[in-house]
Each structure stands twice: as structure tokens, then as C-alpha cells.
Symmetry: C2
């Protein structure tokens, strides 16, 4: 770190990157006062801010105090905020902030930028990968249905359910970005934030409180950078071994149906690693579709004999997975118990607070109360792990209402974005305490800073069963890449998508294309969708079953390759799905490729995400790439390959040490 | 005016209204710095502002200097802006502003409010009449197609043409509001402004420059208030006598068709005051529909013998009206002449600037150049008035691009909102210089401060040929009422609406309901719409002709009543269409009635604006009201009357001095 303070200009550099350029004429730090309004409807937020003051902090003084450089910014002759600069033990730049006037609740910090710079990250971003040219509100919410105001589905979702969303809506926002200049920058805050990458000369980071600190570090390569990042936020454990044995089939409807479907799949040659039955604790019917009975215990009526069958299945090599989320259904046993013990968030006056989840209401387990966490961990351990579940979807986490009251006394506006982390931690600890970290798989869609060390894997949320770019198959790819750069190296998605509304029904072709992509991700898992009857399913016809069978065999064939990548992720934070620039940093084109990825070091995957497309245009960075199906070698640039159903555009690197394994894919 | 400056709080009152409450703790004046971005597509603007500074001016000093009280507001120890308070000769409160630092280009001023206060005006507002609870961006633009983000038509218009608009979009914004506390408040600026009425304790007036002054006055009654307002902004002249002789038929297609249609209408009993042929100077076909050839001279091919027929028609009692706007079609004679003389707006480097009007391009006549104004007045006098036109639509005025260069050196951002005024003034002066103010009718949709004294009548712009509340028949009523309160007392609309797009086609019922409303406005004028073939027209069938005939007879019957109202408007600014509270100020319900109006003093009109509605629910302020068709008397409150086609819900006041005339309506 170097601080230069000449001619009234303050310039901070770190590892040769200019981070902060500030002067009285061009201030880079602003404080202000705002009044936010948060309007939530079923996880969709309409947020407005009335900024009454935004003050440039032109004047400053610099002071050396022990191991920190203290810069005091003044406003109107009064000290307004202190920035305490230091290098951490790991040589990261840390700028801590201390508010000197409690009235300020808005903060803007400009990180120096260059016009051609590209940035990535901000959690899991589904529409943009390179974020330059846009601003990104960072607030955990439903991701939106359609996610594009020009799409008819988005308009329908907006007008019917306030649910259309936009390019920035995400279950997992994180106030951290990665620059193509090989540095990362993190703002430690869980308040509403907005990172604005529209300006040529700076990135403006806004948040609705005074952040604790800004953390920044640079490296000489992208692999070193993700290792550094995950050194900060934590790393996911390795995937349980059984996950790469085949597909996890999303099934609903009870014990008999589940066993039948598993048998039929196996008979058709499908490699089955598990059955994921989200309705294991019973169902509710709503106009949205089939919903679950959120009381987190085995439902004997719908799943008779599951207590014994679950163990038989496991012996046969098929794991059984369930479902849970951090809410408890009003007037059901867990709700009543939690309410009685005072483990639920309340209204400000201490009275009952339930959240609308769409024709039913739930209590919010108050994870700021350590006793409530212990209790919920107990629920997970007793009702789920001890029962025999080997995994679950750890759904939701984005719905903390901003007007509820929490045990730790912190405003729910500040806790909202932290909730996914708290929810992940409860699950992680329950598993850890059960000694099952290496064997249980749980997956979340919600996320935030610190989720990395607690959530074992992400899934991409609720895509439309549709081809649309912003909310269909394609959107899962930037989601995997952006969250991967944040340290979430294990990512996957519902094969075939989830949201079956507004006329969208899953076609056979979409299911097959999605399955082809999933075979080249660390987890294969299907989902029936919210209206199963409207969707093409894995067992709708023999051709689909045969296609899936082949894709699961390819996936299983890649087991050692995927396990090695998962290990690398757990040890060094190297994501399993990687942007092309991770290993080809001199390739300028690679920085704009958002619908292709490297799967491990040596496979390049370009999923077909357009309906009816049978020839795929692919960008290959300079290297020797062998087209998996034709065996033809390419050396880089934009090329075209045939990509009929069953032959997704996948290439392996000729120089791979796994070339034998990878060259066998075509023969499967 | 009273200025109290006690205990560091500054309170300004005028005629017992508290206008301004300011203290260091609760400042009511803010200055700032912003960078606006204006993106125009065919008159639809996408405007964003990046406010980098918003500074509360907490400290102030008060000084008496001659006839003004000077309040200097300081920021950071430096004087930032002066407010010079005085009473004008007419005893209005005037607060002039003088910037003391040129860097400030954003201004926020809080007018003290009470929680239950209601406000009106802001130019011509089509969705809301009482503006409280919303903010109103004030920028002249296309008004939008659909104007409601929840409507499918709006979505289609947005995605296809960026043209959907929203509740605040208007051709005629004006930074002036009227309070139910019987005061008006005007901010003298033509910059982009936004009046925010969402706060309980103040109205926040924002503009994107330092305004010249704020002007405010209060009266004891609403009639006195509109007289005061029009004392500031000017008053419209009286309607030409011939206008109330019948309907002005919107006809296109040439001399023969026009004469035929006039004859047929007259034969069916329609009282015809004029024929309005917007294509008198020729047409262009575009995908939008039939468009006009913007070269502003008689087109002999389309209108053969018009030079003689126009006089014959006049002798037969039918005036001929044309069309003009402030743009000249690229490469046509007027364009070439203007370009050669340097009368067109240019790019910043002085090179050619043409504006996209939808598949054709035009030059913008530079009305900041007095010579250009004289030239355009000459065009109007020679090509239109001397040719024999007795009126025209003075279309457009909202498209001044913000990045063009103008003769007077003022930024086009500042000139944009002034352009409708400049355009009106050119037309008004041309007519005045021709000595025809009392005989020529011209009507505009665009407007702004000062239009009142120059534009002889407004029409409500381009409604959808549809029943939708925000952009159909209903929307014309708040438009008339709000612009009327600003001093534009003569307002009317296209009978049947105009915009025929996105599947909207005008039905017979809509045409008839609109004609019924028009009979109770100061001008009856029909329009074929942009796609005449898709619309029901006045002569589509005999029943429609007969219905229109009756409505024109009623209108003509009301001639003396309407003329008296028009005279009152020209003399005292009393609008012909008035909100109920104008004469019933103690009736609290009256302040929320936006789809009914008083037509003159003694008629109450509640147009049917819903499809299929045959019974109309009407609110009557306390008085004796006689239902025109049944003769039944009502004394006030919410009532219901039959309102089949041909019997719009209209009531006259029993105490009217015109009771004889009004009681005869039913017999027509």
C-alpha cells in the first residue's frame, strides 16, 4: 500500500493498482442522509430512497498512528468520518470506517477505474457477467420471473404478482467485485448497497449505512485471486463422493411413486445418485402450483414406510434428499413451539409477525437468537439427518421483512442481506455437528458475504421452463461464473428449469439441452417444476430417459475429473465452472464470453441455449481443443460445430493430463 | 408577506398561508450538482440524473435592503444563494434567486404543506387531478400510449416504440400548482423540474437550474385565484363566433372527399362549423399510418381547386382548417429555404441537425432567432391565412432535442420546456398581425408557462381510441380541469380519440360517447385517427350521423351559454370546464372528483367513460340540480341516473339565469 498526499490530492495504491484518487476538486467519498422505503410482496421488493443530503467530503487530514494511517474527512469544518488504512497480516489493503456523526446513513465511495476496465461478481448475477456499464442494486430477493422489462412474461409476472424482476434481481447479492486488473474489492456491509459501474473513471460503491471496512487485494493471476478471495470468505467443502455417481432425480408424490420412478430410471440405464423429494414433509395446493407443508418432519401419509425405505435405497446406492427452509408454517407444531419459546421474529411491538408466502403464512425463525439457531439445528439433526436424509434443498432466505424486530436488536434492514449467511450457517453447523460434512449435500439459492464457508453448494434458483436469455437455461451460466468468482465453486441448476407460469411449459428439447449442460457441471439434479403436469419430465418418454441415461453415464465417467476439480475448489477456491479468462488472461475476447465456461481446467463447454439450434458457434481461446464428438482439433477463435441433441458443444484440451478419460466421452 | 426569524427558524407567511419553514435542523432549501442524461426517441424521453451533491443550506442571514428582504443561505461557510423576497405591485409574494456559486445546477425548495392538503395543476395532467401522493416530472414530451405500466397496450408501446409513457407524461407540463388552501405557487424555470407531493409536511419543488424566482399568491375564492393566475400567465382570447355553430369535422383525402362528406353530414342534419383537413399540404405513408407532408403549403394534387372552394365553403358557413407544426421536412422547399438562411437548429458544431419523426426527418425552426420567427410567421400568413385557412392544429412543440445548438446561445436543455410557448407565440403573432385574432381558431397540445396568453385553445393530445382510464376518453377530463386551473380555459379533444395502434380500433360506442362529451365542451372536433380505416367514423352509418347531428344541435343551442363562458375566460381566466370545487369550495368530496366537471357555471357533466355503461353514478355538490333528460331534480350527493347512448349524464342548476335555454336541451 502506498499513500501519496501531494498538492491536495490523495492517491492510494496497492500492489501497483490505483485504488483511490481524491481531491477537493474531485472528491471520491460522500456521506449523506436518506429515507428508504421497502415494499415487499412475496419476496419481491419495491425499494425507493429519498436522499435528502449527499455531501462531498472535500477536506481531509492525514495522520500516522502506529500501524494505521488515519484519514479524517471533514465536512463543513467538522470531522465527518475516519478512514483507517492498514495492510492486513495477509497483505490485503483494509480501509476501516468510523462515522464521527451518527446522522449519516448513506455512503458513496469511488474506487478508481480505467475506461476499458471490466468487472465481475457482485454475488450471483444472472443477466450480466461483465458488469461494466450498469449499476447493480444489491439486495437479496426473489430473482424475478422473466427478468427483462421487454419480455411479455416479465410484464405478466409484474402485473399479476409484482414478480417480474429486472437484470439485477438475485437471490444472492454480494458487495464484492473482481476486476480484470486482477484485484478484488469488497465492502463489508449487509445494508442495501448499489455498485455503479457506469462511470469511466471510477466505480461508485453505495451503501445505506457506514460500512465496517473496504477490503481489497490484487494478485498476479486469476487463480491466485480466487484463492485470495476464498481466503477471506471461506471455501466450500468437497462434494460428497456419491454425488458424482449420477443424477439426483427430483420426484414428488410419495413413497410408491418415488420407488417406481427410481426403478424405471435405473431400468432405462439412468445412473441414479439420489432421489430428491421436496414434498417429503407433505404438500399444500395453491394457485401457484403444488407447494410444500413447511413443518420439517417426515409426512407419514404421503411417504409411508420412508423410515425403512430410506435405508434400503441407500444400500442400493440411491440417496434420499428432502427440503427445508428457514420459515415455519403458521399454527403447525414447529411454529407453535418456536412461538412459545420466543424464537420467531416479531413486530416492533413484540406481537406476532407472519410472512405471506402466497396463500399461506409463516413465522421467521430468528437466527440472531443463538438459542433459536440451536433449536433449528436440532430440528435439522433430529427430523432430517437422524431420519436418514442425505441432503436437502435449503430453500429461501431472502424474505426477511425490513420492519420486523429481531432478538439481537439490529435493524432488519441491516440483517436482511445477512439472512442467507445465517441460514447457511445453521445448516452447515447442524451437518458438521452430526459429523456428516463429507457425506451430506445441501444446496441454497440465497447467498451473501460469507456464504462460501457455510453453504456447500449453490443452485441457480428458479429459472423459467423456457429459452429466454435472462431467466432461462442461458442465465444459469453467468450465474455460475459470477458466483464462482466470489468463491462458490460448486454451482448447479434445476434440469429443465422450475417456474411454470404465464403459459411457459417445459418442452422435451429444453429438458434435454438442460440435461446436457448439467452433465458438465458438478451436480446433476432434475426438478419437476411448480406445475409438474405442464412440464416435460425425465420419464415422459423413452427417448428422454435414454438421453438422460447417456448424460448421466458421461457425468459418472467424469467422476474422477470432477472430484479433482471439487478438491481444488475446497483447497484453493478454484471454481469448477470457470470463465475463459481464468486460464487465458491475455485473450481479450475471453472477458466478454458469458455463455461458455471451462469445466475444470481442461473441458470447454458451450451449452446450446437457443431453441432449435443444431449448429453451435463457439469461441475458443488459443490452445489445442479437441471437439469431444468429432475428435476434430481446433486452435482458437470463433468456430462452428454441429451440436444436435445429445452432442452439446464440448471440447477438451489436447494437453490435458486427463486426455485419456476425456477422449472416451464420445464412446459413451 | 410576513417574515419571522426567531430561534434560528425562518418562517415566511403570505396572506395567512405559511409558505416556508426553515431551520438549521430542518432545512427547506437545498442546492446540488447533477449530471443529466436525456435519451429521446421520437418525442419519448428516457431521462436519468446522477446527483453527485445535494447540500442542505442550514445557515442563513437576513438583511433588509430597500424594498426587498434578502436572505443569504450559506454553505460550508460560503454564501451559496440569495433569496430576495418582495411583494409585487399586485401584492403577490416573489422570491427571486441569485446563485452565488456557478457550480450548482440542482435546486430543491420545500413549500410548507399540511397533511390533508390537496394540490392540482402542473400543466395538463391526464392521470391524476389531485396530485398529492405522487411526484410529477415536468418535461414536455409525447404523452405516452397507454400511460400505465400495468396495461398491455403500454407494454407493447414501450417495447416496440419506447412510447408507453407513465402517469406524469404530458405534452404540457408547467411548474405551477394550485392548492386547496386557495393559493397558487409558480417556479419560474424552463429547466427539467419535478414537483414532489409525496411528503406530509412539505411540497418539494426540484429543478435542474437555479430558477429565476418563485411566485405565490392566495385569494379568498377559487374564481379569484384563477383570475390572479391568469393575471400572471395571460388569458386566451374569446373563441371565434363561428366555432360554436357546430362540429369541426376531421376529414382527409382531398377536395372531393371533403366536399362530399360535408354535404352528407349536413344532409343528415349535422351542424357543421368547419372542415379540418390536416392533409391539406399532402401526405406521406409510414408504418404508423398516414402522416403529413410537413412543408406547409397547399397541395394542389391532393386538394385541387381548394383555392376557390375554400371561399365557397366559407360563404356556405363552413370554415376550412389546416395543419402546421414547427418542423420542416428535410429536402423540401421550406426546409431548404430555412437551412440556407440559417433558421434551423444545428448540431453543436454548426452542422445539420434533423429530428426523427418516425420514418422521416425534419429540421427544427429555431424560434430563439427573431428572424426565424418572422420568417415562420410569414409562412403562416402567406401560405395559410392569406390562402384562406380559418384555423389549424398547431401540432407538436415537445421534440426540441437537448443536444442541439440554438441561435440565442441558451442550452437546449433549458429551452426544451419553453419551446411550446415559443411555438404558440409565433402562431399567435402571425394571426394578430393578420388582424384575425377574433376569427381564426388554432389549437395546440404542447404547452408550458406563458402559453395561456398565446395559445388560443388546447386540445388534449393523442388519446387511444379506447376506453382505458389513463389514455382514453376519461383522461381528457382531468386534462381539461388541470390545464384550466393554469389558465387554459378553452380545452377540447379529438372526438373518438386518435391513436389507433396495438390492436386498438375505435368502436361506434366510443365515438358516440366521445361526441356526447364534446357537445359539453367549448369545441366539437372529430379526428379520423392515424389509421382511419380501422376506426368507426362519424359517417360510418346513419345512426352515428343522426346521433352526431343531435349532439351538434345541442352544442349549437348552447352557443350563447358557451360564448358567455368563453368571454368570462378571456376576461377573468375562468375556465369553461371547471372542477366542482370551483363553485362548491366547502364540499370536501368535490376535491376528489376528476371525471366530472362544471361546464360553465350551471351545467354539471359526468361523461360516460366505461364501455357498456348505461347507468351513471354521479356526484352532485349541494344545490338544486335538474337532470337534463328526465327533468328530475336532485339536491346533492352520490346519485344514479340512466345514461343510455344519446343521454349523457348532464344536469343544470335550477337557479341558473339560463334556465330557459338549459331546460330546452332535452327537446332537441
Amino acid at each position: 500500500m502506498d499513500i501519496s498526499n501531494n498538492e491536495s490530492a490523495l492517491i492510494i495504491t496497492h500492489k501497483n493498482r490505483t485504488i483511490f484518487k481524491h481531491s477537493a476538486q474531485n472528491p471520491s467519498l460522500f456521506l449523506g442522509v436518506g429515507e428508504a422505503n421497502y415494499d415487499m410482496y412475496r419476496g419481491n421488493f419495491d425499494i425507493t430512497d429519498y436522499v435528502t443530503e449527499r455531501l462531498p467530503l472535500r477536506q481531509y487530514t492525514v495522520e500516522e498512528t502506529g500501524d494505521k494511517t488515519v484519514i479524517t474527512f471533514n465536512f463543513d469544518g467538522q470531522p465527518a468520518i475516519k478512514m483507517l488504512l492498514s495492510e492486513t497480516a495477509e497483505s490485503r489493503l483494509k480501509a476501516e470506517f468510523e462515522a464521527l456523526d451518527p446522522k449519516y446513513n448513506r455512503f458513496w465511495f469511488r474506487v478508481a477505474a480505467t475506461e476499458d476496465e471490466k468487472v465481475y461478481g457482485c454475488g450471483e448475477q444472472l443477466t450480466y457477467f461483465n458488469l461494466r456499464g450498469k449499476n447493480f442494486p444489491l439486495w437479496s430477493s426473489e430473482p424475478g420471473v422473466g427478468r427483462n422489462k421487454d419480455s411479455y412474461v416479465t410484464w405478466l409476472a409484474d402485473t399479476k404478482d409484482k414478480a417480474g424482476g429486472d437484470y439485477y434481481n438475485t437471490n444472492y447479492p454480494q458487495p464484492t467485485f473482481v476486476s480484470d486488473k486482477k484485484y478484488f474489492c469488497h465492502l463489508e456491509t449487509t445494508a442495501y448497497a448499489d455498485f455503479d459501474f457506469t462511470n469511466d473513471e471510477f466505480h461508485e460503491l453505495q451503501c445505506w449505512n457506514i460500512p465496517e471496512y473496504l477490503l481489497l487485494d490484487a494478485e498476479e493471476s486469476f487463480p491466485s485471486l480466487v484463492e485470495n478471495i476464498t481466503g477471506v470468505f471461506g471455501r466450500q467443502p468437497e462434494l460428497p463422493d456419491w454425488v458424482t455417481n449420477g443424477v439426483i432425480l427430483g420426484i414428488q408424490g410419495g413413497t410408491e411413486i418415488t420407488l417406481e420412478k427410481i426403478e424405471a430410471a435405473k431400468a432405462a440405464g439412468v445412473e441414479v445418485a439420489g432421489a430428491w423429494c421436496q414434498d417429503w414433509q407433505g404438500i399444500k395446493m395453491t394457485s401457484f402450483g403444488k407447494r410444500l407443508q413447511w413443518d420439517w418432519q417426515w409426512n407419514k401419509e404421503l411417504y409411508p414406510e420412508l423410515d425403512t425405505k430410506i435405508h434400503q435405497l441407500k444400500e442400493e446406492g440411491v440417496r434420499f434428499l428432502g427440503y427445508i427452509n428457514p420459515y415455519v408454517l403458521e399454527d403447525f407444531p414447529l411454529y407453535n413451539e418456536a412461538a412459545e419459546k420466543g424464537y420467531l421474529a416479531t413486530k416492533q411491538d413484540g406481537s406476532k409477525y407472519v410472512v405471506d408466502f402466497g396463500e399461506f403464512y409463516c413465522g421467521v425463525v430468528d437466527f440472531t437468537n443463538p438459542d433459536a439457531c440451536e433449536w433449528y439445528k436440532g430440528v435439522i439433526k433430529t427430523n432430517m439427518i437422524d431420519f436418514g436424509l442425505d441432503g436437502w434443498m435449503g430453500d429461501f432466505g431472502e424474505y426477511l421483512p425490513t420492519d420486523c424486530s429481531l432478538s439481537n436488536g439490529v435493524s432488519a434492514e441491516i440483517e436482511h442481506n445477512k439472512w442467507p449467511y445465517r441460514w447457511a450457517k445453521v445448516q452447515h453447523e447442524a451437518i458438521e455437528e452430526a459429523g456428516k460434512t463429507d457425506d451430506i449435500l445441501f444446496f441454497m439459492r440465497a447467498g451473501g458475504t460469507g456464504i462460501q464457508g457455510n453453504c456447500h453448494t449453490l443452485w441457480g434458483g428458479d429459472q423459467l421452463v423456457d429459452w429466454c436469455i435472462d431467466d432461462g437455461l442461458a442465465s444459469v451460466i453467468p450465474a455460475a461464473l459470477s458466483s464462482g468468482l466470489m468463491g462458490n465453486g460448486i454451482h448447479h441448476s434445476d434440469i429443465g428449469g422450475y417456474t411454470t407460469l404465464h403459459g411457459c411449459k417445459r418442452s422435451k428439447e429444453l429438458f434435454q439441452r438442460w440435461a446436457e449442460m448439467a452433465a458438465f457441471t458438478p451436480i446433476m439434479r432434475s426438478h419437476e417444476g411448480n406445475r409438474p403436469g405442464d412440464n416435460h419430465q425425465f420419464d415422459t418418454d423413452a427417448e428422454t430417459l435414454a438421453h438422460l441415461a447417456r448424460m448421466t453415464k458421461i457425468f459418472k465417467h467424469l467422476k474422477p475429473y470432477i472430484k479433482a476439480a471439487s478438491k481444488e475448489n475446497s483447497e484453493r477456491g478454484m471454481p469448477v465452472q470457470r470463465p475463459l479468462f481464468m486460464h487465458y488472461e491475455n485473450d481479450t475476447e475471453a472477458y466478454e464470453i458469458k455463455f461458455q465456461y471451462l469445466f475444470g481446467r481442461d473441458l470447454l463447454v458451450a451449452p446450446v441455449y437457443n431453441q432449435g439450434e443444431e449448429v453451435k458457434k463457439v469461441y475458443l481461446p488459443e490452445d489445442e481443443w479437441v471437439h469431444v464428438w468429432s475428435g476434430k482439433t481446433f486452435t482458437g477463435g470463433w468456430i462452428e460445430v454441429d451440436a444436435p441433441i445429445g452432442q452439446p458443444a464440448v471440447f477438451y484440451r489436447k494437453a490435458s493430463k486427463d486426455v485419456e478419460l476425456l477422449s472416451q466421452i464420445a464412446a459413451i
